[in-house]
Assembly symmetry: C2
Homo-oligomer: 198 residues x 2
DNA sequence: GTCTATATGTTGATAGAC
DNA sequence: GTCTATCAACATATAGAC
């Protein structure tokens, strides 16, 4: 009742709802290839109306990248990320990262595609690198403990793990046939044990 | 002597040399975010001069995607891609794909980032999907043979494999510290056996 | 909160001189 | 083969009415 003021307007956007649709449109065509006109069309309002809610196109990207990075960084705050053997911490972080990814596909997708075309994008890239560095360190530790295969350079191992997890955004959909829990199980299983049967 | 005609011009571009530099610039900023002005700057000539060699920006993308796809599709022409047990064919194709990737990083990188923003891009995506489908079929076969773990859906397995291999473009550099052969070895080793020590 | 109209810059591409 | 000059289209963003 408080909303819509009794008139016939079909839209009632706020920053949050615009952000969510914007991120989807950005992902569909790529951020740079998405014009404010295309975004307006997806929202069913005009370009000008968007600027009532957000100051700029880049601000939408900023909000999205912040959210994605905050979620990933929160994983490292969990005690399980810094308790016990490195291999267990690594398993926890990989599983959690996959969970964040399936829970926030759109936001993480956008983050993973950032190229560093502005200061803001470069800052996001730096935060992402810092997160990756933490995981790389766990791989190094786990390898020193003898839990990770010694025949492959730890940076290569870490990068292959990032790559496999990150690639999930290319096919996982919340409403798809594969359950998010199962995805996390599968990623950890393949990462640790490979695809061959025992 | 035949070239440069005795004048002081420092450039002698043809379509091939322009393409190679263009692909690098496209990858650095993203295709859409790269303007012909930026490309001209990287080449050290003006925008107009580029159009003497190529008819359009999109034509450069077309050339690049064609080359990437031709190289990948050529893998499937090798007898080893269709001889013997599915698991052996799969190993061969994964290793070869990694080889093509390291041999043609720039071109494959561009291919993997295409979003389908034009008819041309959508055709490239379709060829890429056809290639992936062939590999997925090998995974299905190998799983039926009992060589691939039965607890994970074969499509998921295939996708995780694509993801891991494709992610190599994000860090492999021809002049980097890791040898291309070693990369292919590592990818196959991790894909088949995982990152844990035996 | 959304609209129409518009300001201002940048884009991909062309014309024509040298 | 490269240049200067220029175009039409489209970009992001703003002003002000309702």
């Amino acid at each position: 009742m408080a909303e819509n003021s009794g008139n016939g307007s079909r839209h009632n956007y706020d920053q949050e709802s615009i952000l969510n649709i914007a991120v989807d449109v950005f992902n569909k065509h790529g951020y740079e290839a998405t014009s404010m006109g295309m975004l307006a069309e997806a929202l069913g309002i005009t370009k000008s109306a968007i600027y009532h809610h957000v100051p700029s196109k880049e601000y939408l990207l900023q909000l999205a990248l912040d959210r994605a990075l905050n979620r990933l960084e929160a994983i490292l705050d969990d005690p399980l990320a810094s308790t016990g053997p490195a291999i267990d911490k690594l398993r926890f972080v990989l599983r959690s990262a996959t969970g964040v990814l399936t829970d926030q596909v759109s936001f993480i997708t956008l983050l993973l595609r950032v190229r560093g075309n502005s200061d803001m994008e470069r800052e996001a890239l730096e935060r992402r690198r810092a997160f990756n560095r933490t995981i790389s360190d766990l791989v190094i530790q786990a390898q020193q403990d003898g839990a990770i295969r010694p025949d492959i350079d730890s940076r290569t191992t870490a990068r292959l793990l990032f790559g496999m997890i990150g690639s999930v955004v290319d096919w996982y959909r919340p409403d798809g046939p594969v359950d998010a829990q199962k995805v996390a199980d599968d990623v950890v299983a393949v990462a640790f044990g490979g695809v061959r049967s025992e």
